[in-house]
Symmetry: C2
Subunit: 245 residues, 2 copies
């Protein structure tokens, strides 16, 4: 829940009353273990589920049975849009690690949002950023070679973790397996492995034991051709990210 408030607050300033109101919208809390399905295509959920701890992903199954991850969900991310309509999902959501979920009451939440408030703006921003990320992923998988693609994903994830205050210096908890990364990037697990080794050999990052360490942030950014514009950070993170080098 605090990750969620952190994230919304990052994009638009929330008042104390709004923060309290959000807590009042909590309907229930759940735990899921790694690999479990959170929601399936076709389902309509009445509430709004928030990832409060752990990572999850949205994915689609392809004609050949392989899965493509179309979005990674970090703490603070929502499973559904905060919108008046409860739309049936067109994809599945799966836990990539053990997960804590907080379910908000959709009606209550909608009633709490007053126009021109920080909350209203923050939710709008969050939705826009989610979409921007998909656009950047589209560019990533179509135009960048494997290693660059991977580097770009790592940059994005490090930035997103910084936004919700989950980085420690140049390190962060990183529950993705190589298979999950390959499914995100449209690569085979083998080729992802090769690419990861390349980044390691170049002394750019190290990924091991569920920990991602950024060895040389400026060079990693250059290698990936990364810019955090599409995350709409507004430069608010430059200090945190400099720490990472």
């Amino acid at each position: 829940m605090y990750s969620f408030i952190n994230k919304i607050n990052f994009y638009a300033c929330l008042s104390q009353t709004e923060k309290a109101a959000l807590h009042d919208c909590v309907d229930s809390k759940h735990h899921l273990s790694r690999g479990q399905t959170l929601a399936s295509a076709g389902e309509k959920t009445d509430g709004i589920d928030i990832v409060t701890d752990g990572w999850a992903c949205r994915f689609k199954r392809a004609h050949d049975g392989s899965d493509q991850i179309i979005a990674l969900m970090l703490p603070g991310d929502q499973c559904e849009d905060v919108s008046p309509v409860a739309c049936p999902l067109d994809h599945d959501i799966r836990a990539l690690s053990d997960l804590r979920i907080t379910r908000l009451d959709r009606r209550k939440l909608l009633s709490v949002i007053s126009p021109d408030s920080g909350l209203s703006d923050g939710l709008a921003w969050s939705s826009i950023v989610d979409r921007s990320i998909m656009g950047e992923w589209l560019l990533n998988v179509t135009r960048r070679p494997a290693a660059m693609r991977l580097a770009h994903l790592l940059c994005e994830l490090f930035t997103r973790c910084a936004i919700i205050g989950r980085t420690q210096g140049n390190r962060m908890h990183f529950p993705l397996t190589q298979v999950a990364m390959s499914e995100s990037l449209g690569l085979s697990p083998v080729h992802l492995n090769r690419s990861l080794q390349l980044l390691r050999r170049q002394q750019l990052v190290s990924v091991c034991r569920k920990t991602l360490t950024i060895i040389d942030w400026p060079r990693l950014v250059a290698f990936a051709g990364y810019s955090d514009h599409y995350l709409h950070t507004g430069g608010k993170l430059s200090a945190d990210l400099r720490l990472a080098s």
Copy 2:
């Protein structure tokens, strides 16, 4: 403008007053010719631009100078989200044909939307569908081989044109060049040409003189592994699409 109302009305029922109110939100109208830039990355637009005639695209430039189209915009599609925040674009928008644009006043539009109205729901749906399309594109470019990818795109575009009432039987106006298609699908122009020829040889479609003709809709759908679930048509188009075979 009518395409826009058509589209919103397809997803949620608009009252006569709401339709009239939308007309009142019109701020100005513009013409653009093919190739012109509608909006550039970093720009914030105060109004909401609607494509009323012609096609446009959102695209991003890659490190090697090539362009990736991340969304195709048909009549009725919006350039910006109808949200309280005017967010700087993270990509460019370009006219793929001669274009007519209608600009709505954001503040007026927002004030016209009452909660739990058809308009409110329709706009929410439209935004959800835009996002779903991106998710499907992500699957398309990463997991499907070239010809299947192309077939899938053609199915999608035919469905979207049917939604706004711009198909004639098994035909539709189709302003995309092969280069534009290749930029949408993450293929080289040459390989797109090969794929298009394959679909033609298989007697599935014919694309010529800016017209797309569906020769065999059921087989095209099967070949593409297409389902319009992600467009949330709710089966409302089955009649129109049967016409296409």
